[in-house]
């Protein structure tokens, strides 16, 4: 009972945040609502006994990605949507049906499989130590790859975001 209430709360926070993030006019509001959706997802993970992942989600999504998005929004101001102008892309009428179609397919598939209505077997314990050991043994190659990817992404982001030299800038303008 309590569990279901918590699930409903987290799920509604997540979905409301996601819908608001995609619908609101003000970009900063969108970013903050997305942060709310990420936090709700973290709560869902925690409710599913995935403590490490839930906390990592909170740390990375709310603490880093949301901030990054907010920073980008602040840095790309100046082309605010004029009041009255559309916030949707010209092809929005394609996007919505596609979304609805995907939703229908997924929900149909979920509803069609009765085995998915089952309850979990028992308590699951995923201590940090076990996760660490798994990362260092079985998943060590993916871990290295992710490390490489993050380094590359860091360098790439810096290289892209770096202000170009003066002459190059004047040439492009």
């Amino acid at each position: 009972m309590l569990n279901e209430i918590i699930f409903l709360l987290c799920a509604s926070l997540t979905l409301a945040g996601a819908v608001a993030a995609m619908m609101l006019r003000n970009l900063v509001h969108c970013a903050l609502c997305a942060a709310g959706a990420f936090a709700g997802l973290a709560a869902l993970y925690l409710q599913l006994d995935a403590q490490f992942v839930g906390l990592a989600q909170l740390l990375i999504y709310v603490g880093a990605i949301a901030i990054l998005i907010v920073f980008t929004i602040m840095l790309t101001r100046g082309d605010e949507v004029r009041p009255g102008a559309s916030i949707a892309s010209p092809l929005w009428w394609v996007g919505l049906p596609v979304g609805a179609l995907v939703l229908a397919c997924l929900v149909g598939a979920i509803m069609a499989s009765p085995s998915l209505l089952r309850l979990p077997a028992g308590a699951v314990h995923a201590p940090v130590r076990k996760i660490g050991e798994a990362l260092m043994n079985r998943y060590v190659m993916p871990l290295q790859a992710v490390g490489l990817l993050l380094t590359a992404a860091l360098l790439g982001a810096v290289a892209i975001g770096l202000r170009e030299p003066r002459d190059a800038e004047s040439k492009t303008q």
């Binding site: 949301a66 920073f71 130590r129």
Partner: protein, 396 residues
């Protein structure tokens, strides 16, 4: 000894025992929450007073000494003043966010206390990933600061918020990195395990606190500097630099909301100090063997107070940094040094297995040297070449 040591735990059990069996976990949770909030709110009140008195004395003035004996009721007077002030919301402000920001800032910071071990068996929730929880919860404050600054629709607020976020993100890296050696050597993310790992004695009398190792000492200072910056305190208080940007993201806040921000700042500082005590200063363990008779929570309190004193002392002494100095310091000094500290911790770990006796001092010196050289050269590089002698054109 154990009776006094466990007095809060036993009292808590006894009080929760009055509740019906079904509600007992809830009752003990509420008790723990009430205790933590009461203790740290009192601590907040006393710290504001102690800070002002100490700042005064360190600058050769009296601090507040008018309200009550020795100014002891000054926090009450301040609180009453804050509460009865008019709560002004700017006309063009984003009302919802303006209202939400102090709440979003304050609530997670209180949550961070849930995982700190305040004494033997005195952890509210012994989370498996306690320190991860601590940092995850703490990361919400950056968004809150942004909300406060942006919703005020005031350029000083936005500038202050942007400064604060840049600073908090930059210093979060060394903050987390400086704790990693501790986690590595304790082999756990749980704060209880980390405290337990510091509970034995070296040479039969000296506690094995992390601060007594080279990487622990360096880590403590890196951690304290990063925590100071993280909680926007002097000398890193330039998000609120009055002389440049009024009060930063607090400009448009008054009354109770301002008090909440103020509270959040101090409680964040307490959480940082508590974590510092837990990670580096042995948590609630006594420093030497003969002193275990004192209750564990008292040891925690003493170390906690010492760290708070250190923060106040630094605030009284050091002038505010410039923004570029601040960020250079974070990225060109703190981050490399905390990475070096990881290496030092690894070296310490490997030299721990040295076979010959009397290796401890050699090991210490070796690891300290491993840290000191990068420290020296990074500091040199940060300082850059000396500026040329100043030329006076008009003052001959």
């Amino acid at each position: 000894m154990s009776r006094l040591d466990q007095i809060f735990v036993l009292t808590g059990h006894w009080l929760a025992g009055w509740a019906p069996a079904a509600l007992r976990p809830l009752a003990s949770a509420v008790l723990a929450i009430a205790c933590i909030m009461a203790v740290f709110a009192t601590c907040f009140a006393l710290t504001t007073l102690a800070e002002r008195k100490l700042l005064g004395r360190m600058q050769n003035r009296f601090g507040p000494n008018r309200v009550g004996p020795c100014g002891l009721f000054q926090p009450v007077a301040d609180g009453v003043k804050m509460l009865i002030k008019e709560d002004i919301v700017p006309f063009s402000a984003d009302k919802t966010l303006h209202f939400l920001a102090p709440i979003v800032l304050t609530v997670p910071i209180w949550l961070a206390f849930a995982v700190l071990p305040f004494g033997r068996n005195m952890t509210a929730i012994d989370l498996d990933g306690g320190i991860l929880f601590f940092f995850a919860i703490g990361s919400a404050s950056e968004l809150a600061v942004f909300m406060a600054g942006w919703s005020s629709q005031n350029k000083y607020s936005v500038v202050g918020a942007m400064r604060a976020i840049a600073q908090m993100i930059s210093y979060e890296v060394p903050l987390v990195l400086s704790t990693v050696p501790v986690l590595m050597l304790a082999g756990s993310l749980s704060l209880n395990d980390i405290v337990a790992a510091q509970g034995t004695y070296a040479f039969g009398w000296l506690a094995r606190w992390n601060v007594f190792t080279p990487w622990g000492l360096a880590g403590l200072f890196l951690f304290l500097i990063a925590a100071t910056a993280e909680s926007n305190r002097s000398p890193f208080d330039l998000p609120e630099g009055e002389s440049e940007i009024i009060a930063g993201y607090l400009t448009e806040y008054s009354g109770f909301k301002y008090a909440l921000f103020f509270l959040g700042e101090y409680v964040g500082l307490f959480a940082g100090a508590g974590l510092g005590v837990t990670l580096f200063l042995g948590g609630w363990h006594a420093p030497v063997k003969g002193l275990e008779w004192a209750p564990s929570w008292l040891w925690f309190g003493v170390k906690f107070a010492a760290l708070i004193f250190l923060f106040i002392w630094a605030r009284a002494t050091l002038p505010r940094l410039r923004l570029d100095q601040l960020l250079n310091f974070a990225w060109r000094f703190m981050v490399p040094l905390s990475l070096v500290n990881l290496l030092v911790a690894a070296a310490w770990y490997w030299t721990g297995a040295w076979p010959f006796g009397g290796a401890a001092p050699i090991r210490w010196v070796l690891c300290a040297g491993l840290f000191i050289f990068p420290y020296h050269w990074l500091g040199r590089a940060l300082r850059g070449p000396l500026p040329p002698p100043r030329k006076y054109s008009y003052a001959e």
